[in-house]
């Protein structure tokens, strides 16, 4: 999955490089037209492409597999009689899913930066606010964006963990987690549900553009972090409630 994620920025960069002549300004994903000016924008385009679908998909697979995967291998009962402790097992599994989210995001960033610098110019980076910053500053901002995207995925990971405690069939939990993510994004598109949007875990997913302005606006980061923390608390509590007293019959 990580290799597939790394392929996204590489494909984007090659596509832009090959079709350089005909790229119409403004069409396609955000920041696409800026790649030719600076290779680092491959990272931002790739994240913009991966965040709505590809990253939630991989997080759904990993988070949905946490408990249900152990159950389907028959290893859940052996972990519990080891004894791993049920709360401890949930915590370790959640941390694992969170680390995966970080790793997945970093893979996209690193692959994007690498291919971007190979195929396109580097040097000072023009921000969305018009200022230019040094490449070192821009790389720091990229890391902040990676952190932002990782935090964005934590709520979904908690949902996946909870769904994973409901079943012994990992594929079911994975599919359900991905459906949650798609449903949240669909609802986020409907203007009629304006009042609901601030509560959807996917609402701030694409808000990382704030880090490409000067000065950096931390509003989206704070709201996103608070929202994700809320999701983590609710779904971790649900997962605990479900798993702590569950009869393990797998």
């Amino acid at each position: 999955m990580l290799a597939a994620l790394a392929a996204v920025p590489i494909l984007i960069a090659i596509a832009v490089r090959v079709t350089r002549a005909g790229s119409g300004g403004g069409a396609g994903p955000a920041f696409l037209d800026r790649i030719e000016n600076n290779g680092l924008f491959v990272v931002f385009v790739a994240l913009g492409v991966c965040v709505p679908l590809f990253l939630p998909l991989t997080v759904g697979v990993v988070a949905g597999d946490t408990i249900a995967g152990e159950a389907s291998h028959g290893t859940l009962r052996y972990l519990l009689i080891a004894p791993a402790g049920r709360i401890r097992l949930l915590a370790v599994k959640y941390v694992g899913a969170a680390v995966f989210s970080l790793a997945a995001t970093l893979v996209v960033c690193i692959a994007g930066a690498a291919i971007g610098f190979i195929l396109f110019p580097s040097g000072s980076v023009a921000l969305l606010s018009g200022d230019s910053v040094s490449i070192v500053d821009a790389l720091g901002r990229s890391l902040l964006i990676a952190l932002y995207v990782t935090v964005s995925l934590l709520g979904l990971s908690a949902i996946g963990l909870f769904l994973s405690t409901l079943t012994d069939v990992p594929v079911g939990a994975m599919a359900a987690t991905i459906i949650f993510s798609v449903a949240s994004e669909v609802l986020d598109q409907l203007p009629q549900l304006d009042w609901l949007h601030p509560w959807l875990f996917s609402n701030y997913w694409l808000g990382f553009g704030d880090f490409l302005r000067d000065p950096i606006s931390w509003n989206a980061f704070g709201q996103n972090a608070a929202l994700q923390a809320g999701y983590i608390i609710v779904f971790a509590a649900l997962a605990y409630g479900r798993f702590a007293a569950k009869d393990i019959l797998s």
Binding site: G74, T75, L76, Y78, L79, I81, A82, P83, L89, L249
Partner: protein
């Protein structure tokens, strides 16, 4: 027997799945230091009972005490002292045997990580898997996985081993090795609770046994106690069935007539006051042509079958 001497004790332990009672109010008493055979046909509630003993499932009612502590409330203090194989082995197919054991051992907070490699190697050695320790588990045969499961139960010194059908899928050689292993562990003072649907396997190694049938505990005690419950019988081989029946009935014995042609006559030797020798004398005096005469004590096998019923039907 006082509580301190019991490694496992249940009182009215019951597990209900919806309207179906898998385990119906059983009172198990497993003494410390015993090798306890937990017998019963498939679907009689053995594994469900074991899951409750290990805190994997909570009883619907009743209580289970393991090593003096109540389960599942005291899981964390009891389970490190218990090694178990439950309903077959469960391992990651893409990890090697040794890596699987290391992973499960690291899940145990109380197992020292310093000695992990040595303990894993030792456990693999005891079940004869040293040579294949580095192979991925997906390449293991069923019997090898079963051995790995037993190795997992032996990772740290245990006071109690709960082995659910440990010889499943093992070849005769492997079955013998498991028996030897169980004996040697029992000699070191480990209490061993071993379930099986094969009586023959258990009879050779157990000191105690209990029999489950359709969720009920139908018998429990030392092997000798269980054998004694079956009363000795005499078997008479003769052509003069009616005559012999009359003689035996005079002794107050219940006679089971032969079921087929050339079959023997079987009678329960009621009170021990009847001397088998006297029966033979009486038969001969009555001019019964006796072809054969034998006194039989029912084997544990007969007792097992009479308790659990014969045939392939899974009773519910």
């Amino acid at each position: 027997m006082s509580q301190a001497e019991l490694a496992i004790e249940t009182r009215g332990l019951t597990k209900q799945f919806g309207s179906y009672a898998a385990v119906k109010s059983i009172d198990l008493s497993v003494p410390h230091g015993s090798v306890f055979g937990f017998l019963g046909p498939n679907g009689s509630g053995k594994t469900t009972t074991i899951r409750m003993l290990l805190g994997l499932a909570s009883p619907t009612s009743g209580e289970a005490r393991v090593l003096g502590a109540s389960m599942p409330r005291e899981n964390a203090t009891v389970l490190p002292r218990v090694g178990a194989l439950v309903e077959g082995p469960g391992f990651y197919p893409y990890l090697s045997g040794a890596d699987n054991l290391r992973r499960l051992d690291s899940a145990d907070r109380y197992a020292p990580s310093r000695t992990r490699s040595a303990r894993v190697a030792d456990a693999l050695e005891r079940v004869g898997l040293s040579a294949t320790a580095a192979k991925k588990v997906k390449a293991y045969s069923l019997g090898m996985k079963q051995r790995l499961g037993i190795a997992n139960a032996l990772l740290t010194p245990r006071e109690l081993l709960i082995l659910d059908e440990p010889t499943n899928g093992l070849d005769p050689q492997g079955t013998r090795e498991v028996r030897t292993l169980v004996r040697s562990l029992a000699l070191q003072g480990t209490t061993i609770f071993v379930s099986s649907h094969l009586l023959a396997e258990i009879e050779q190694i157990c000191t105690h046994a209990a029999v489950m049938s359709a969720g009920n505990l139908v018998a429990q005690g030392t092997l000798d106690e269980l054998r004694q419950v079956g009363r000795p019988r005499v078997r008479v081989s003769t052509a003069d069935v009616p005559l012999a029946t009359a003689v035996l009935e005079k002794f107050g014995m219940t006679v089971v007539p032969p079921t087929g042609d050339g079959d023997d006559l079987v009678a329960v030797l009621g009170d021990a006051s009847v001397e088998p020798d006297a029966i033979v004398v009486a038969l001969v005096r009555a001019r019964v042509r006796v072809r054969g005469f034998a006194v039989e004590t029912p084997s544990l096998e007969d007792r097992f079958v009479s308790l659990t019923g014969e045939g392939f039907n899974v009773d519910h």
